[in-house]
Amino acid sequence: MTGPARLARRLLDLTLPVQHRGVVLTHLDEEYAHIMRTESPRSAARWYWRQVTGSLAGAMQLRMQSPQPKRAETSVGGRMSRMFSEFLHDARYGFRQLRQAPGFSIAAVLMLAIGLGLVAGSYTVVNGMFIRGWDVPDNKRVFRAFGDMTGAPEGGRIDDGLSYGAYKHIREHGRAADYVAWDMENRRVGTSQTTAIYSNGWLVSDNFIEAMRIPIGLGTSLVGTKAGDGARVVLTDKLWKLAFNGDPRVVGGSIWVSGQAATVVGVTAPGFQSLGERTIDFLMEISASPLWAMQGRTDPVRDDKSCCISIGGRVRSGGSLPRVHEELTLLTSQYRQATSQPALQINLRDTSPMIGDSRRIAMTFSLIGAAVILVWGLTCANVGNLFLARSLKRGREIAVRLALGASRGRLVRQLLAEGLVLAGLAGSLALAFAAGVPFIIAKVDGTAAMFAPDLLVVAVAVLATILTCLLVALAPALYSTRVNLKGSGRTSTASAGRMREVILAVQVGFAAVLVLAAALLARGILQSTTARADFALQSTTGVEFQMPGDATDAQKRAARLALTKAIMDSGNRYALAELMPASARSAAMTSVRLVTGPVEYRALVMRLTGSSFDVLAVPLVEGRPHVEDPAAAEAVINQTLARRLWPEGSAVGKSLHLNFTNRVYSIVGVVRDAHLTGLGEIEPVIFTSAERSNFGVVLATIVPGMREGLTALVKQVDPKVAIKFTPLSESIQASLRTAWTGAAIATGLAVIALLLAVIGVFGVFSYLVEERRREIGIRLALGATRRQVRTALAHACRRPMLMGLALGLGLSILAGMAMRGALFGLSPLDPVSYGVVAIILVAAAVVATAIPVRRALRVDPAVTLRSE
């Protein structure tokens, strides 16, 4: 039995009475085994959990209906059983106590649910993005293989990995696993060009579907497809319904895939739509890849010695991963020697998503995670304060019970059980929220399945719930049971007061750091467009052609050629680019390599005409712009790339291999670094030309009459084409969308944290006013002014507030350093941000203390003195 079923089984095992245990669990196991034969492991686990959680009430009924056999009290089992019974009794008692204080209970549960919900929700996302493997049966036996070359210098890597040719050799000779290959290509798919939709495709080996045990709902899989059979494809159920209306006649028929015909051989079962982080709309047999190969671009199947495709597989029964590793190393080595290529080091990995070069994403999630933990800490601190106050009020009850012989440990366990009931209710709400995360993400992205909570998420939520219970209830329980039986029967108020001060300081500190983080992020984004406008951002506009919807690809290409020719021949200052500079997608990621060696360096490529540097006001620091004719194979690079490749000496005149086009270029110029690809850190960029038909954007300087002139020109050449003007100052906002999302999340967390801190300060101040009501009455009776009373109250809170601010300042400086990369050049010690945060915190403190202070000032000295 696998993991989740074991845990659930144990839970039911503990709850069932002994005379029914064997029968009920046997029944459950038998049904589970039946379900496992027909459904996926995840469905079976979900069924098991549903049965167990639904059966707990029945199990409790059985326990109450059945007489319990007496166990020896001294046995371990007897003691465990007694403790479990006491715990159930304490939990029922705790539940009754909480029902008697509905206001406190609801407030506490909601507050804890916020903290735990954020923890469970964010962990669900992290689990889906970074930890969880492919959702295929028995995914522990599925692996991915990587062939790496070592020996690359700092900042570079030797990108020569496993090729399709190597895969064919491995597939022919390998025995330890069912080896598969895949590559990803997006295509437009439909019954015809006009109805085609953009789809995520996987080019896979013919045995992929069988090896990964992807269920087929209609037709067959790709098995047996050979090179020369033409393009054969299996659609996912989602694409089949979306693009083909769920028509079963499409199986066996021909469909349109980006200009080529493909035969549909099958449709997957409903529910299958992704592997890991990538959505899949269709699976195409990989040998058909050359049909779509673009001139000047590497095709992994046609150029089968070139890097790279993805290789992996499923370990066969009787095999093992070490055996697979050994076999892959041997077979790859044989192939590489036969093709005179250098040796590769083979590494095997599981199918969890690779962080790869997304360290920035991992850093972002780490920061969000830290913020979430702070908010969770704040909720625990708030509820802990409430718990402390409530526990102290029950001092007399606790004293009586201690006097009657109850042990302190027993009372602490009882108070902890109350905390566990609260935390448990909040944890259930949090898990329900985590279960809703896939639906929220499905609205934004299609890869929702990978975010469904699994055992790991449940375990994190349970662990967080238990920690919450301990943080919230343990210390108050220990304090409140430290009763002086010989004295007044009260606990020491001094120690309770100190504890309250610590809690308050923590709340103020955590709130301060979260508010500052949000302020720094927002300020960084706001000042980025001015601080980093190192090119003609405000005075350049991008012009895009909008072709008629019924135009074919050939017609669109012809129209673009005619339009760009007319525009460039018009004599005005224009430039052409493939993508809009300074937008969310302004360049393509690729790698470059010196022709003298194998080391590759990550770079961005922007394809545009040489006149772009003039229009964008990005000066050349060396050499000249490249010519427009792509056949000349000229390129310009930015200073960052020049420094990386040729730290000593000039880059002009050198040669560079560009992976994007698989060609060697001659470097004719170096431009000054500019934020053409986004307002973050400057990336290494290479600029080349392309075929005229590839240029989709015209860059023009904004001058009077420019719009009208261009509109008239386009209408003259092709009246059916519309044009859209997008100033670069607007398009750059799209590139900041992710940053604004991050700032919005940080602001949301900061608002929650501030609210919690305000509630916490309000609570402490209210308690303080209540505690010192008599003193305030006496002071007022003796002639103290209201201002003096206000000052005295503020003085009482001085220490924890100062401690909190000091803690907040320290954490803020650390947070600022950690977030430096996301601040668009803003200093982490930006005084404006710190000033704004100080004002916000002071305003929050005034709001939090306003009502308690007003209550204090309304104290009637006469009433207070009479009540003595």
Binding site: H20, V23, V24, H27, E30, G58, Q61, Q65
Partner: protein
């Protein structure tokens, strides 16, 4: 009708009927499958066994434990009292429905 008669609850009737239908094959898994197939209603194992145990306590069912390959299985059979209880429940339904015509739109 003298004395206070205890009538079967809705789910108790369903369970009793399932056991009656299955005759000699009425063990836990089969009873649950019978209920799910006939009612289309998802029934948790714990709730079903709690009801079976209650019916045994009331004397409407008797149970016997057997072992199959070392795994315990509990078979149930309806008693005469169980049959009487089912018939009483059916008679009660018949008496309550007698002569009643429910208008489709819910009005009298």
């Amino acid at each position: 009708m003298g004395g206070r008669q205890s009538y079967l609850g809705e789910f108790e009737q369903v369970v009793l009927l399932a056991v009656a239908r299955l005759k000699a094959d009425a063990y836990g898994m089969a009873v649950r499958a019978e209920i799910v197939d006939r009612t289309g209603r998802e029934v948790t194992i714990g709730a079903m066994y709690a009801t079976l145990d209650r019916l045994v306590t009331k004397g409407y069912l008797r149970s016997r434990d057997e072992s199959e390959g070392g795994r315990p299985k509990r078979f149930f059979a309806i008693t005469a009292a169980g049959v009487d209880a089912l018939e009483a429940a059916r008679e009660l339904q018949t008496r309550m429905w007698a002569g009643l015509r429910l208008p489709k739109d819910g009005r009298r």
